[in-house]
Amino acid sequence: MSLADLTITDAAAGLRAGSHSSVDLTEAVLERASMTEAEVHAYLTIDREAALDAARAADAELAAGEDRGMLHGIPIALKDNMCQRGVETTAASQILAGYRPPYDATVVTRLRDAGAVLIGKANLDEFAMGSSTENSAYGPSRNPWDTGRVPGGSSGGSAAAVAAGSALGALGSDTGGSIRQPGSLCGVVGMKPTYGTVSRYGLIAFASSLDQIGPITRTVDDAVAVLESISGHDPLDATSWAGDYPDLTSEIDAGVAGKRIGVVSEFAGEGYEPAVTGALSHTLDQLSDAGAEVVEVSLPTVELALSAYYLIAPAECSANLARFDGMRYGLRVDGETTEELMARTRARGFGPEVIRRILLGTYALSAGYYDAFYGQAHKARTVLRTEFAAAYEKVDVLMSPTSPTVAFPFDAKSDPLSMYLSDVCTIPSNLSGDPAISVPVGLDGRGLPIGVQVMAPAMGEPVLFGVAKTIERLAGFDARPAMVEELA
């Protein structure tokens, strides 16, 4: 087994036991990338020299007894919508081709402070809009389990890197499922924290009220380790939670005995692959056997969540992406007037899905339509939150498939609506702001990974991780993509 396939937990233990160095880990990951990238294309940028410098620095510190914790010396990938000083950051858009931010996102600062080794910038759907990375202006990433299939999205590059061994862990961002769905499709853990607990400062915004950064890792413990280092109040983000934060590990080994688990009854039926619903039932049976009480819970408003999301997210993005006008940075296409310059720059710089959502959002906010669209969507969001809150009066966590399907072939969902349905199970947690996680539990008949989703109330990370870890243990999922098996 290559060092590139270690969990963060094991790699960290090995660093302290002297069985390998951070340079060893980093070199293993870079070597893996050199073998897989031509096929997987998980990265837009790999910063080899900077990564090795950081690894050497981490080794020196650890040797000197300066231990920054679990991520110290661990190679981590960043989704390319997080600003890293001096490193090209494009959000997979032509409009930011060549753009090098003059500052670090707060999560980047926190990863540096934790001693992590930043390997590079992972691919995504342009501006995180999509569920397959097919919307990347720089070409899609491919699923390491089957390179004829998508890795999911929008954090598909991050998930593919973790699955392929070209990073031990990664950061993704999740606006409607963009961490969890690719996590599920790539057979790794993807976790969206409670809104406000991880700073958005330096995250290129898609939909500000929904965006949340979180970890993509191989295990639940690894997700806890990454989240611990990136979460916490940030005065640079006004929506950052300034109160107390729970101890993420307080229930990690508590098991599920006596826990009440609600299964969302709306997330089943047409469009759900039998293997996916089967995997969920099997997991629920295991949890029940382990002492949990499994009950059905109906959340009728989740049926409206997708519609509400596709009004709120485009509305916010129509303003968030207005700053890309060719004036101050990024692509500029000249014109006779300022207006023409802006229009041409945007027409050339944005891809079709981004333009579709900007137009959708602009329309939803326009005079005469606001009440019918954006206003109604907000009402639905409020009702949904109330429904979730009521459900959590009765159960500790809610569960569902993460994605209705396993990884799908490229071009299989060229119709935007069918693509949007990929996120039907994940979107509600973004609208409610609550934490949720996808845990891999098995493979379908074709050998493609399947994940299940656990959702918890806001600040319910401890119980979320406790249940997720139990699922992980019961599933005993240890399969790896064939390409990794061959290389390892």
Partner: protein, 481 residues
């Protein structure tokens, strides 16, 4: 112009707050620096940057709201106002829409001794834009060959104060603007300088036939850079609209530009079918909460404002016009007044001397500020009361005080201006004048009353002008009868 037209005017005022840092980032608020030096990821709208509300700016808009007798919203929100413009980095302005921090207040203004109460619709918090510098062809946008952008001003806290359409004349419009500027300046929350654009006025004007008619179509006018041009522009626009309507034309809803040189308003753009700003709640910021405790605390820090000061001066016995002038006079004059009264002078006399002779002296000497010992002014007033100084002598004493020649008494003595109060000395001067002018005495006794004037003059000459002419007059008549 036919009788019966009534102008209806509302004024929007943009006030740049003089906070240390910008509205949503830590960049300095500072003017006249090299372009694009006070900028950061947030105010340049770099990808990923986020706004954080400046608490001091919120404290200051609440101050403004309280000074304008507004209700303060315990809970308000920021909105995004979306429009594309090169000097607006995010291509949306963070502003407020349906729930401003301050609403429903009023401001009293005085025009020709009449007080009018102008309603305040709202005061909301927003941020300023950058500046476009059009290069070549005289800096006009349409002919410019190049446009440079300076973002130093982008994100500077801006408070917009919107009046109700309660203003009825150009003179009132000017008085409203001046009074509001005075309040803002005294709160110390803005430089409040028109020439530097730290306070800017737009006026919405319509006319209607009498106070009970429906509002007419309104026109917004911009680019008034002084109170005088505001008054002239409003006056011009009122007349233009009346002329249009009387020619049986109609008023187009539009924005018009005041051309200072030509002294006319010209059409900038029509409002019909214009911008839809697509306001929606700013998701990067949380709602603004103003606790009653915070509101009370800010209220307790408000300085005395002009209208309160005017009332206090009236109560001290100052007459209305003088109280009005003095209450909005600059700080140096006001403290001179307060200190002079504090030193024991009669308030009415002190106010009259300061708003009259002191101001006239400053104008004559072309000075903006004075450094004067209030005790000397009080002493001078005391000497007038004690008949030691005549009115004309007092003016000279004041001149000496203002020139720093010493106390009132010292000036009066060195300039030899003290009035003779020794009745014995005056009496002997009268006696010798009567003795020296027997024919004048004759003529008076023969009924020629006016000869007294001549005799008074003689006595004044004999006393080198230091005798009180009234006392001399009385004494002469007594001796001649």
């Amino acid at each position: 112009m036919s009788v019966g037209w009534e102008p209806v005017i509302g004024i929007e005022v943009h006030v740049e707050l003089a906070t240390q840092s910008k509205m949503f980032c830590g960049c300095a608020v500072s003017f006249g620096e090299a372009p694009n030096t006070n900028v950061c990821p947030t105010c340049l709208a770099l990808p990923g940057a986020l706004p954080v509300t400046n608490g001091k700016a919120i404290e200051w808009i609440i101050k403004i709201g309280l000074a304008l007798h507004c209700e303060i919203s315990e809970w308000s929100v920021f909105h995004r106002k979306n429009y594309f413009y090169a000097d607006l980095p995010k291509n949306y302005q963070i502003s407020q829409y349906d729930v401003p921090v301050c609403h429903d207040g009023w401001l009293d203004i005085d025009v020709d001794g009449e007080t009018a109460r102008i309603g305040i619709e709202r005061a909301h918090q927003e941020e300023d834009t950058g500046k476009s510098l059009h290069m070549g062809e005289g800096g006009r946008i349409h002919a410019a060959t190049e446009t440079l952008l300076d973002f130093n001003r982008a994100g500077v806290p801006l408070v917009e104060v919107v009046s109700k359409p309660d203003i009825r004349s150009a003179a009132q419009a000017r008085a409203y603007a001046q009074t509001l500027r005075q309040v803002i300046a005294e709160l110390g929350v803005s430089d409040a300088r028109l020439e530097e654009g730290s306070i800017r006025f737009d006026a919405n004007i319509s006319v209607r036939q009498g106070p009970d008619a429906e509002f007419g179509t309104k026109v917004e006018i911009k680019n008034m850079n002084s109170f005088r041009s505001l008054e002239k522009a409003v006056d011009f626009e009122i007349k233009r609209q009346i002329a249009e309507l009387e020619a049986e034309g109609t008023i187009i809803q539009e924005t018009r530009h005041w051309d200072e040189e030509a002294a006319v308003t010209t059409s900038m753009r029509t409002k019909e079918g214009s911008s839809d700003y697509r306001y929606f709640t700013e998701p990067d910021l949380v709602p603004l909460v103003v606790t009653p405790e915070w509101r009370e605390h800010i209220l307790s820090t408000l300085p005395e404002l002009p209208h309160q000061r005017k009332d206090r001066y009236l109560a001290l016995g100052v007459d209305t016009q003088t109280a009005l002038a003095l209450s909005s006079a600059d700080t140096a004059l006001r403290s001179l007044f307060e200190d002079t009264v504090g030193a024991g002078a009669d308030a009415k006399a002190a106010a009259n001397w300061i708003t009259g002779e002191v101001v006239a002296w400053m104008r004559r000497e072309s000075v903006d500020t004075i450094d004067v010992d209030s005790a000397s002014v009080a002493e001078m007033i005391g000497m007038i009361d004690a008949n030691e100084l005549s009115a004309s002598a007092a003016k000279e004493v004041l001149d000496g005080i203002l020139r720093g020649e010493g106390t009132a008494r010292a000036v009066a003595e060195s300039r030899d201006l003290i009035q003779m109060t020794d009745t014995g000395a005056i009496e002997s001067a009268v006696d010798s004048v009567l003795a020296d002018n027997p024919d004048a005495v004759e003529r008076y006794r023969a009924g020629e009353q006016k000869v007294v004037g001549f005799l008074v003059g003689q006595v004044m000459r004999a006393t080198q002008g230091k005798a009180d002419p009234k006392a001399v007059n009385g004494l002469l008549r007594e001796k001649l009868s």
